[in-house]
Subunit: 226 residues, 2 copies
DNA sequence: GAAATTTTTTAGCCAATTTTAAGAATTCAC
DNA sequence: GTGAATTCTTAAAATTGGCTAAAAAATTTC
């Protein structure tokens, strides 16, 4: 799940970005309206949700919202507005926003609203599994045959991505975008290295095949069970 | 947690009532505005939240809201409005509602919003424990193996948060928000310092592992008791 | 208002994690 | 089979993030 955050105050932007990343979202930040609109339109398919500050230098949040809505009716958009700006809230909804959050907001509130809007897309599932491997997002644990396997953050994120897409090919470029960064060097071999880490930690010793199938020239896939 | 639901359509009212009762709320239903306002005002102290349908026979939801607000500024009020009634939503907020939910809504969405507004209200468990550690919110005491351990306020708050979420990861950003104030400073190392304080006070001398597990890049976790 | 306690900041250290790089192995097309 | 492309594996370098101690700042207590 990739979120575009358009927010000019660096401290707030970082706070939100860090928090959401800890929750497993990928977050890109634009620090002004022009850049925000540009990023949104250029990668319209990439983003699952747009978080828009109301007050922005240059192009305002409303204009960004309008611009995006012209191209895409579906993308969930949430506004961040000042506490008592009731009119702003109305206006935002009229312009096509799906929800708004009044500042100062608690992170939990924001997360609740994001989850509501992403529900159909993301599902709220917090555990995934393949055969004897279970991953749990709440506890941030991976259990295999009843024993915990220690994974690092990146290993965890990669496994989560593969399991979320169990049965489907995960293309290298997609993995780079979702697990690493959208701007990450595509020629890198980190993926290979991390796939290798996962295999070493999770493949059954003596098994002839890995639980992660390599699809040459394309990417990787964890097969459906059975 | 007692909720007053003012809704004239019996089927919807029952659906909401049943659902909320399953979640552990006590729910009273008024099937028109007049009755709703009356019940609300007579038992103002009893209710923790008001769910108000917009369209009501007789006295409208807005009028109920206004009437309640005259007596009580604090009571959280959520409106249920028709899907595209943007103006209604605005109007509701101006009249003093805290939030609104557009119909048709999902039960989860409603629950999420109710929980946000009820956060930090009473009626919760007041003791938590992990192995030999017991924390009591009423007496504000921590007891380990029968002897009281002196904790400062912040130490206590942090331990409380970790224990409330026993078994789950507590992400750094959430800890900062919940235990310290909403505070956009993510560069601080207070958390580390306080985790260290707790460990020094509560870890068994000679133990190989702390009772608080560090999850690098994510946060901390107190494991479920074995 | 001085002393004690609590909270927060700072900074160096260290270890775990992440990334890079490069040679080995495998696969595929011809 | 041969060669090119891709992936695997390993090791080493770079980076990050958490730990700790100590000091500074804020708050409470007497």
């Amino acid at each position: 799940m990739r979120i575009l955050l358009v927010e000019d105050e660096t401290s707030i932007a970082n706070f939100i970005k860090d928090g959401l990343e800890e929750e497993g979202f990928a977050v890109d930040v634009a620090d002004n309206g022009k850049k925000g609109l540009q990023m949104a339109l250029e990668n319209l398919e990439e983003y699952d949700l747009l978080l828009l500050d109301w007050m922005l230098p240059g192009i305002s949040g409303i204009e960004v919202c309008r611009g995006v809505r012209k191209q895409n009716q579906q993308l969930p958009i949430i506004f961040l507005t000042a506490k008592d700006a009731v009119d702003d809230a109305v206006f935002a909804l009229e312009t096509g926003a799906n929800d708004f959050i009044r500042k100062p907001f608690s992170f939990e509130e924001m997360l609740a609203r994001i989850r509501v809007l992403l529900r159909n897309k993301a599902g709220e599932q917090t555990t995934f599994g393949y055969k004897n491997i279970q991953i749990n997002l709440d506890t941030h644990r991976v259990v295999q045959n009843g024993t915990t396997v220690e994974l690092t953050q990146k290993e965890f994120a990669l496994l989560e991505y593969l399991l979320r897409n169990k049965g489907k090919v995960c293309r290298r470029t997609r993995i780079i975008e979702k697990v690493w960064d959208i701007n990450f060097d595509h020629s890198t071999a980190v993926i290979d290295v991390y796939i290798n880490f996962l295999r070493r930690k999770l493949d059954q010793p003596g098994a002839t095949e890995s639980f992660i199938t390599t699809i040459r020239g394309v990417g990787y896939r964890i097969n459906d069970d059975a």
